[in-house]
């Protein structure tokens, strides 16, 4: 209930520094520092969001509104963007998860996740919602810096019936992968 009220209060609204309960309003910096609403408000005109910083960071990047640099050391550095989706279906009551490498590799290096958080192999790592909620695995970033875990549908985005149909009809994207979770039964429609 409180979360819903918070979401309503927050959409398109950023707290001033002096009132955010984190910055010391008596600090000399409080007069000098830029308000988050000033920058994020401008960005939200192009790509607003209802969670986190209330801007769609990936969209801002893809639409070239932002051009954050990918390297301090190399001025000609190009991010290694990998366009590969990994699907996760453990036959639970939630929609199938589609993990898009592309959105992540626009911001992160492969080494930020591989191999110490996730093995670089679909199905190589047992992914658990409990771990995620505890701030591990996906939860290292999601809920901290990337969009929070209240946004279930952003990960759980593919209906099971749709996924099964795409799988059976060979309509999954060419370079996508399916994660068969270790220690769990593969989905019934899955053929080796």
């Amino acid at each position: 209930m409180g979360g819903f009220a918070m979401a309503l209060a927050e959409a398109g609204h950023w707290l001033p520094l002096k009132e955010d309960n984190i910055h010391d309003p008596r600090s000399p910096a409080a007069r000098v520092m830029q308000e988050s609403g000033q920058a994020l408000g401008e960005l939200a005109k192009r790509a607003p969001d209802t969670a986190g910083n209330q801007v769609r960071w990936v969209r801002l990047l893809e639409e070239n509104v932002l051009q954050p640099r990918g390297s301090l050391k190399d001025p000609n550095f190009k991010m290694q963007v990998l366009d590969r989706d990994v699907y996760l279906d453990i036959g639970g009551s939630m929609n199938v998860v589609r993990f898009p490498h592309r959105a992540h590799t626009l911001w992160l290096d492969c080494k930020n996740c591989h191999d110490h958080i996730f093995l670089p192999k679909a199905g190589g790592t047992r992914i658990e919602m409990y771990e995620i909620l505890q701030g591990n695995q996906c939860g290292i970033c999601h809920g901290a810096v990337a969009f929070p875990l209240t946004e279930c549908q952003r990960c759980h985005s593919v209906k099971q019936v749709d996924f099964e149909a795409m799988y059976r009809e060979n309509r999954l994207p060419a370079n996508s992968a399916i994660s068969i979770q270790p220690g769990k039964k593969p989905p019934p429609y899955f053929r080796k």
């Binding site: 984190i22 520092m33 640099r69 050391k73 991010m79 626009l106 810096v145």
Partner: protein
Amino acid sequence: MKFKFAILALLLSLWPPAHAEYADVVINRQAEQNGMRPVVFPHWFHRIRFRCRVCHLELGFKMRVAGNVITMADIISGKFCGACHNGDIAWSVENCDICHSGRPGLPSGIYGADQTMGPGKW
């Protein structure tokens, strides 16, 4: 009249408590012990200018609150924050109060990230 007042009181009680911008990190491992305000690091300002890779790969910042031991000596010698906050890429380290701007007593943590209201330990 009383009914309307009750509704108003209910709505006001649902108003969220003040909290920082999402992803603001408070670092208070040593700052307050040494007489400085805790540090507030705003991710949003840096995300506009840098991709995650720059700090979390090139500069060696671990993705864990209070997981990095950062001393002023490190910063002055160009490590961690000092890789940019040296007067060249960004303002220099003499501007103590811009980083050390947290209110007293704030424990290290990542703030504004309480939206799941779950057992998270960020």
